[in-house]
Symmetry: C2
Subunit: 305 residues, 2 copies
């Protein structure tokens, strides 16, 4: 874009850089295990991406406490959610799943390291996410009770009834999805659950009240769904170069999407409706500083990739 | 065997039954996710096995506290370790890994549910193990600090520098293992790490002192290694029917094993040496009731399958 980088874009970039710096050293260097496995983990962790989920952890902490201490305390959990997101991409890309050869313009993990190592790298990242959550408490910034509540929530929202369940519904339903209810199940669990986790975890670390955690969850569900519908839309109308992957791929595969089920214009209207509802919900929750979260909601639906 | 079932075998059977009863309901029934995924998880969780690792959690708790309350408090963690062990088998059996069609006489998970669902079922079990650990604290029987220490230890010993690292070393080294050092790395991480976790977690829950946790860990490393060497031996000399899988399979695949590297008699001597060392270590740690752990050590090397 030709316009000057906005304050929000600057914020997003800086936070993403902090997270990336952390990810580069996320597995202690003194841990002794095969170099190839370490390489495979870092290959995917450092493949770029917008780092939206970790930034949401940090922005949610800031929205509650508005001080740097709370944001600093949230970093290990920000890393944890990126580990979960990245492992899910590595496993989703496998031949038995989506069978993708490229992601963000680079060969996928299994194309470089082979399927066996890609499966194990995913397993290692998933397991290490829980190490990062325990680390947050070890650094004495987060109480054991709070860290354990985050462990529990991560195990639910990333597990069978969360992200993995959403992916399973997607894989199992490939040909048979006929209703918005089924599509919403997939979107809510594949996408919204990790966003809800990120927001609530950041909120918890900063000392959010239960009603504030509920508002963060409701906000997350809606922007997660909007994000996913926007993805469907971009995939249909997006510019091939900007997206860095073939557009219309979902249509080519006869994949059922929001535009397929309710039309393009209705899908756009739904994105706007969900985003507005999400923002209103957030504003009703008496947060110390919701600015970045509100900007994030707008950013997600205005992005062109 | 014709002889009467010993007191220890009765103990083992009863504890395994308790664990199996728990595993049948391990994912809350009200959790809404694809039935096929739930089925795939339970297919492997309920495929039998000796439930050695969960029994170790329970026996370790009993060794420290010698009261039923401590053992009861350890049940969720006993379930957690069986979830981890089972997920590792499901992923190891995949075509990209060991490519096994049968396990314990039944078709492997991916032969029944397909590779995609098998991968996801493994991911779901791994994630759910951490839910079970958090459950131990929710039931107010274990403090948040203890549960979080168990989360941390599980994430290390089941992760990149633990079990997953051992499996990666095995996969990556298939042709190139030439030394006992390399083989020990694989055995210690693929097998001993989860045993060490089980013993320490049970000990922690029952209030073990640091020096007792260390003794439990040293005991676990040695019996884990002995268990794995015994596996190599059984695979070489075992009776096909008793093992329920083809013997000599490791030799057929030119897989490097203990008997291959140091000979059969030396391997048997090593098993005996490690077991004795393990038992001596345990007896030096002033435990309230080490009986079951000592019996377990003997059982592991005397088993014929």
């Amino acid at each position: 874009m030709a316009e000057a980088r906005s304050d929000f874009q600057q914020y997003l970039k800086e936070q993403a850089q902090h997270v990336e710096e952390m990810l580069r050293h996320i597995i202690p260097e003194e841990w002794d295990f095969p170099a190839k496995l370490r390489e495979a983990v870092h290959y995917s962790l450092e493949a770029g991406g917008k780092r939206i989920r970790p930034v949401m952890v940090l922005a949610a902490a800031e929205s509650i406490a508005d001080d740097q201490g709370a944001v600093d305390a949230a970093y290990p959990v920000a890393a944890a959610i990126e580990l979960i997101h990245t492992y899910s991409l590595v496993h989703d890309d496998l031949p038995a799943m989506d069978d993708d050869d490229y992601r963000r313009g680079k060969p996928t993990n299994h194309k470089v390291y082979g399927e066996a190592v890609a499966i194990l790298a995913g397993d290692a990242m998933l397991t290490h996410a829980f190490y990062c959550v325990s680390l947050a408490a070890k650094q004495k910034r987060v109480s054991a009770e709070t860290a354990l509540a985050i462990v529990e929530e991560l195990s639910i929202l990333a597990g069978a009834a969360g992200m993995v369940g959403g992916q399973a519904a997607d894989v199992l339903g490939e040909q048979g999805i006929t209703s918005l209810t089924e599509l919403n199940y997939i979107h809510l669990h594949k996408t919204s659950d990790l966003i809800v986790f990120s927001l609530k975890a950041g909120g918890r670390i900063a000392g959010a009240q239960p009603y504030q955690l509920e508002a963060l969850a409701g906000f997350g569900q809606r922007i997660g769904l909007a994000f996913q519908i926007q993805d469907d839309i971009l995939d249909l109308i997006g510019d091939e170069q900007k997206l860095g992957k073939k557009t219309n791929s979902d249509v080519n595969q006869n994949k059922v999407t929001y535009p397929y089920l309710i039309g393009l214009e209705e899908s756009k209207a739904e994105v706007a409706r969900l985003t507005n509802e999400a923002k209103a919900l957030l504003l009703s929750a008496n947060l110390a500083n919701p600015k970045r979260l509100l900007e994030l909601a707008d950013y997600l639906v205005k992005r062109d990739r």
